[in-house]
């Protein structure tokens, strides 16, 4: 299962909350996350890793945003 979620522009903690909800729902597969700020990227990465998911930073455009690939 390959899914995408866009959490750019949302205030903390919504990005990590929404991604967490999605991961809990998916249980396994690949989730692509588009996020636009470093805090949310770090929070999502930490949360996903602690829940046993692999996190890969696919694209990082300086000052623009990040694309994370989260898989299990």
């Amino acid at each position: 299962m390959h899914q995408k979620i866009e959490v750019s522009g949302l205030s903390c903690p919504l990005p990590v909350v929404k991604v967490r909800e999605k991961l809990l729902e998916m249980k396994k597969g690949v989730l692509e996350v588009q996020v636009d700020n470093g805090t949310a990227k770090d929070n999502i990465t930490r949360m996903a890793k602690e829940a046993g998911w692999k996190v890969k930073l696919e694209v990082q455009e300086e000052g623009e945003g990040y694309l994370l690939s989260i898989s299990k």
């Binding site: 522009g9 205030s11 470093g38 300086e62």
Partner: protein
């Protein structure tokens, strides 16, 4: 690699320890007791210096606030995280900042000072911290049920620079202390406003804290929120480090005086110590972070956080002009009523602003 180091567990612990020790040392160097750092009190002092209120004992342009924004700005520029953004319900953020300040000044301190008061032996802080956690818990209930202020958007870089420029203006006023016919800029000659650490030491220490906090995302409200909401103890570790470091430092500096009665810049009306911080905790949670975090976000270009800060400063003006702020004798005449009204407004905000997220 550096970026990973900054968000490691070790580094958030280091940041907490640095803030805890810095705050107690700033107190030793002249800041008011158990107020080495207090974002709410210091913004209140700035409001007084500008004449937004005329409580003569709490007027000073606190360089710590300026340093927090500058430090965060520098970190954001170095690590390419400065990004001008705005448009996520700015007026509502102003209201939340205003209400957070009303609540904090009924307790007499923000979450940072609540920790520092406890580390100085002030038992009344326990009731404030209990209120804070309660307020955060209510805020989490709304977040779980879909509350959000909407998405922000990228905007012109100048918008992101407004708060750092305001801080530069305040710094110049502090440095040159112009005296206008109205009496502004006001600087207290007695009381807490007259007590301060040397300007450049305070500024430098605050800039280091701003830098560290921007990197670690340090936030006293998110620390509690994340434990409850997503079982993440990262920020909580930093806050506990702050508390323990300040406690040990106070013991060494002989600034630890346990008790409830006669604590500095504090009162013993526990109902309103609790109630004030319920309001503050709820408003901070609905706005996405503690008052320190709002300053750090302002430094990295978040104009919505900057609006929240301005709301706090204006709120401080109202708190003293309308007698809602407490004094060591107890809550102000309209303090309890303002807390109740503030909580009701926050509940209305939490209940009514829940639809936008459903479409995402």
């Amino acid at each position: 690699m550096w970026k990973q180091f900054f968000i490691s567990r070790k580094f958030i612990i280091f940041t907490g320890i640095f803030i805890g020790i810095s705050a107690t040392v700033l107190q030793k160097l002249g800041n008011p007791a158990n107020m080495g750092i207090c974002v709410a009190c210091m913004e209140r002092d700035i409001a007084g210096a500008l004449g937004l209120h005329r409580a003569a004992v709490v007027q000073y342009i606190r360089p710590e606030i300026i340093g927090f924004v500058f430090g965060s700005l520098i970190a954001a520029l170095i690590f390419k995280e400065f990004k001008a953004r705005s448009g996520s319900a700015p007026l509502m953020r102003f209201v939340l900042g205003f209400l957070a300040m009303i609540g904090a000044l009924v307790f007499l301190g923000c979450p940072w000072r609540a920790l520092l008061r406890l580390a100085g032996g002030d038992g009344n802080a326990l009731f404030g911290l209990a209120g804070l956690i309660t307020g955060i818990w209510v805020g989490i209930f709304f977040i779980k049920s879909g509350y959000n202020l909407g998405r922000n958007q990228r905007t012109y870089p100048l918008v992101g620079w407004v708060m750092p420029l305001i801080m530069m203006g305040l710094f110049l006023l502090l440095l040159f202390r112009p005296q206008l016919p109205s009496g502004a800029v006001f600087f207290s000659s007695q009381g807490p406003g007259s007590q301060h650490a040397p300007l450049f030491i305070a500024l430098l220490v605050a800039m280091v804290i701003g830098f560290l906090a921007q990197r670690t995302r340090f936030c006293t409200v998110a620390a509690v929120r994340d434990v409850i909401l997503i079982k993440d103890t990262y920020l909580f570790t930093g806050v506990i480090s702050l508390l323990l470091a300040a406690l040990v430092s106070n013991l060494i500096l002989k600034q630890f005086h346990p008790g409830f009665q006669g604590q500095p810049i504090a009162h013993t009306n526990q109902w309103w110590n609790f109630g004030g911080m319920v309001l503050a905790g709820l408003a901070f949670t609905l706005a996405g972070g503690c008052p320190g975090r709002q300053l750090f976000l302002s430094g990295e270009g978040d104009a919505d956080a900057a609006i929240f800060v301005l709301g706090m400063i204006v709120g401080a003006g109202f708190a003293h002009n309308f007698d809602t702020a407490s004094s060591p004798q107890g809550p102000g005449l309209w303090g309890p009523a303002s807390v109740v009204i503030g909580i009701v407004i926050c509940l209305i905000i939490g209940i009514t602003m829940r639809s936008a997220i459903k479409e995402n």
